[in-house]
């Protein structure tokens, strides 16, 4: 007797991002098993990320190295300089990378942290004489700027510009003392109202070392590796006092701390954490912002040997966590939290994005071996990348019965001649059945762009609805889609899966 086709309509599939933590059988179909090079777009759809539009044309000074840091310096007079570091040099500019390393200043590492403070930019790296830049004097060492040798204790690893001062921590011999500068004078760490605080006796766990500093909600947040100390009253550092402590949660990389307005995000040894949530809940699981990819992320962190990188983009509603060792970017969508308190997450694998920075205009700079690029377009320096989606296991409501896939009908927005490869597997098999089709040709025109005003325009994004026949059977079905992104945006609006439910197996 013929059985009716059952339909699972995956509307806005994977709009809750990847979930590799829950059982595939129990998962909501709004999760994804795989969402590579994807973001959640403004319509809540899974879409291909934008690419790296390299703007550097002369990277001679960078050599074969990649950009380790990017920083936008600007002062109250409107002067602006993009600094970057790499090849053991301090570089400036974006199109042409110019070596501005002070003379007779030898650098053998590129783990700088750069902050703007009071019309100056300050460069700190452990064991190195700090550098200070202002528009009048250019880049100078503290020794030159202050007219005297810099005390080794101030050759710090971490720097924070907040509360009218610079706060630094982590020198060659100590990781528990925070030094703060004189008021509004980032060069002066002696005299005036400068000072220091040794937090060695303040760690809630008894011992830790300072990894990062942050200012949030009028608090000075001191991140240890496994604990956090929150100081209030840091506008008068000599009198600041502990407001809260968190034990068991710390930060493992100072470059992962990002203030997203209402929260501080940072990378802990067990994933991405949110300080606001941590302070509120004081409970680890609930505050795990990377709860849905926790095991995967921890596995990647175990391989981490070089500094991570991160950027917060309110324009794109995402926080990017880069793990250069793994050539992997985790993209956390910050529009809202899921029920378990985590953010929606997608992955950008196989990318060589080594550093990020966001300027005042909202542009995201990307540092690679090619120099500095912008998060723009839909290719990585004229190279394509793969947008991939795989659904969790679909049981059609009854995992005990055999399913025979009949059709998969994705609704795809954009693509412009992209070849779409649909895939489906049964019972978690690694061998997938695939079917390919090509979406139509359409170059969308946007208001104000040349295609709209001068040459050509279309009515909008191309929407493709292609129904593909499927074969095979199994009790659990996974469907997927992948395509090569090469110049055009593409997003997955919907995926309708039709199956015939058979006998009990």
């Amino acid at each position: 007797m013929a059985q009716p086709l059952q339909s699972i309509n995956l509307v806005a599939p994977a709009f809750q991002g990847i979930n590799t933590e829950d059982s595939p059988l129990a998962q909501d179909t709004s999760f994804a098993e795989v969402a590579d090079n994807a973001i959640i777009d403004r319509q809540g759809r899974l879409a291909a990320r934008q690419g790296n539009s390299v703007i550097t044309t002369n990277k001679t000074a960078l050599g074969t190295d990649h950009i380790h840091n990017i920083h936008e310096f600007y002062d109250s007079a409107g002067n602006e300089t993009i600094f970057s570091t790499g090849n053991n040099k301090i570089l400036s500019g974006t199109t042409t990378l110019t070596d501005v390393t002070p003379g007779s200043y030898t650098i053998t590492a590129n783990d700088w942290k750069i902050v703007n403070f009071n019309d100056k930019a300050y460069f700190f790296q452990r064991g190195y004489d700090p550098l200070v830049h202002d528009n009048s004097n250019g880049l100078r060492t503290f020794t030159v700027a202050n007219g005297g040798a810099t005390n080794a204790t101030f050759k710090a690893n971490e720097v924070l510009a907040a509360f009218g001062r610079l706060f630094i921590a982590g020198n060659a011999t100590n990781d528990t003392i925070i030094y703060w500068s004189d008021l509004l004078d980032g060069n002066a760490f002696t005299g005036g109202s400068s000072g220091s605080i040794d937090v060695a006796k303040a760690w809630p766990n008894g011992a830790d070392k300072i990894v990062a500093l942050a200012a949030h909600n009028d608090f000075l947040v001191v991140f240890g590796e496994h604990s956090i100390i929150v100081y209030s009253g840091a506008d008068s550092p000599a009198s600041m006092a502990i407001s809260d402590t968190v034990s068991g949660v710390g930060c493992i990389d100072r470059k992962t701390v990002q203030n997203i307005g209402t929260d501080l995000l940072f990378l802990s040894d067990d994933g991405l954490r949110s300080l606001g949530r941590v302070i509120q809940e004081k409970s680890l699981p609930i505050t795990d912002a990377s709860r849905n990819v926790k095991q995967d992320l921890i596995a990647k962190l175990a391989l981490k040997t070089s500094p991570a990188t991160s950027v917060y983009s309110p324009e794109n509603y995402f926080y990017l966590l880069g793990l250069p060792d793994s050539n992997l970017i985790y993209c956390f969508d910050l529009r809202g939290r899921l029920e378990n308190g985590s953010f929606r997450v997608t992955k950008w694998p196989s990318v060589d994005f080594k550093s990020f920075a966001r300027d005042r205009n909202g542009d995201i700079y990307i540092g690679t071996v090619d120099g500095i690029g912008k998060y723009d377009g839909f290719d990585d320096n004229n190279s394509s990348y793969i947008f991939r989606y795989t659904s969790p296991g679909l049981t059609f409501g009854d995992p005990s019965k055999l399913k025979l896939l009949k059709k998969i009908r994705p609704t795809i927005v954009g693509g412009n001649n992209a070849d779409i490869i649909l895939s489906w597997t049964y019972d978690f098999s690694v061998q997938a059945n695939t079917s390919r089709f090509r979406v139509g040709s359409s170059t969308p025109g946007f208001y104000g762009e040349s295609e709209y005003t001068a040459v050509e325009f279309t009515l909008g994004d191309l929407i493709s609805r292609k129904s593909l026949n499927c074969t095979g059977n199994g009790s659990v079905v996974s469907v997927g889609l992948q395509t090569e992104v090469n110049g055009s945006s593409i997003s997955l609006q919907e995926m309708n899966v039709l199956a015939l439910v058979g006998k009990t197996v």
């Binding site: 005036g192 605080i197 009198s239 600041m240």
Partner: protein, 275 residues
């Protein structure tokens, strides 16, 4: 010699032989020697109610008078104590104050150290709870609270130091006063003893006056007695002088009438007044 001379000589011899021994004694007995009464100062000793004694003695050899003040042993011991105390106080009053100042300072600080330690520990706990134990500042050294506590402690030390100086100075003043007081009190038994001497001196003076008056009286009595005896002897002598004058006149007449009378008279004289 003639008959007349013999006669005169016999008469004279009879006369002389008939003179009473008392008349003879006037000329032959030794005169009564008046003895001056002893009206010299008589040493004496005054014994006070507490047993102290003031004695005035005369050196038996030189005759020099001397006064001995002898306190009762209890009073003497008290006097010694007071003098010793006075000496001790005086030594303290004029001595170096620095050691005493340090002692007073240490005493004051000892009373403060406990509270200061409690405050320090409380601040330490507060700073620890606030995670601020390791604060070092260019402005304050440590935290503002630590500076305030240190300032308070320094001020307490300064006040203690000043108080110690003032107290040591006051003590020296007090010691000077006490030294004076002890010194005065040390001589109180002696003063009492001397006070007891005053009435005794009056009494002794009365006695002395009486004794001198008595001596004078005795002397005058003796003198009067002597003068009376002398008067008696004078009367007796006058009597016998008259008798001899009559006899002489008779003899003179005889002499003129009888040669050799003078020789007889001379014999009479020799008979009376043998050489």
């Amino acid at each position: 010699m003639g008959i007349l001379s013999g006669l005169l000589g016999g008469v004279a011899k009879d006369l002389y032989g008939g003179i009473p021994q008392e008349v003879k004694g006037i000329y032959t007995d030794e005169l009564t020697q008046l003895t001056s009464p002893d009206i010299t100062f008589q040493p004496f000793t005054v014994t006070g109610s507490t047993g102290s004694q003031t004695g005035i003695t005369r050196d038996p050899v030189t005759g020099q008078l001397s006064t001995q003040f002898t306190l009762d042993p209890t009073e003497l011991a008290l006097q010694d104590d007071l003098l010793a105390q006075s000496q001790s106080m005086l030594t303290g009053a004029v001595g170096d104050r620095s050691e005493r100042e340090q002692e007073i300072y240490d005493t004051i600080r000892a009373t403060q150290l406990g509270e200061e330690e409690r405050q320090r520990l409380a601040l330490e706990e507060r700073l620890a709870s606030q995670g601020r134990l390791g604060v070092q500042t260019a402005m304050f050294g440590g935290t503002p609270e630590q500076l305030a506590l240190a300032q308070a402690q320094e001020e307490a030390q300064a006040r203690a130091s000043l108080a110690a100086i003032e107290q040591a100075r006051a003590e020296q003043m007090q010691q000077a006063g006490l030294s004076q007081q002890f010194l005065e009190q040390a001589y109180t038994p002696q003063a009492a003893m001397l006070s007891a001497l005053s009435p005794a001196l009056n009494i002794a003076s009365l006695e002395d006056v009486a004794r001198r008056q008595q001596g004078e009286f005795d002397y005058q009595t003796q003198l009067a007695n002597l003068q009376g005896a002398i008067g008696q002897s004078q009367g007796l002598a006058d009597l016998y002088a008259g008798m001899f004058t009559g006899a002489g006149g008779l003899l003179s007449g005889l002499t003129a009438a009888v040669p050799g009378t003078l020789d007889a008279v001379a014999n009479i004289k020799n008979a009376f007044f043998p050489s």
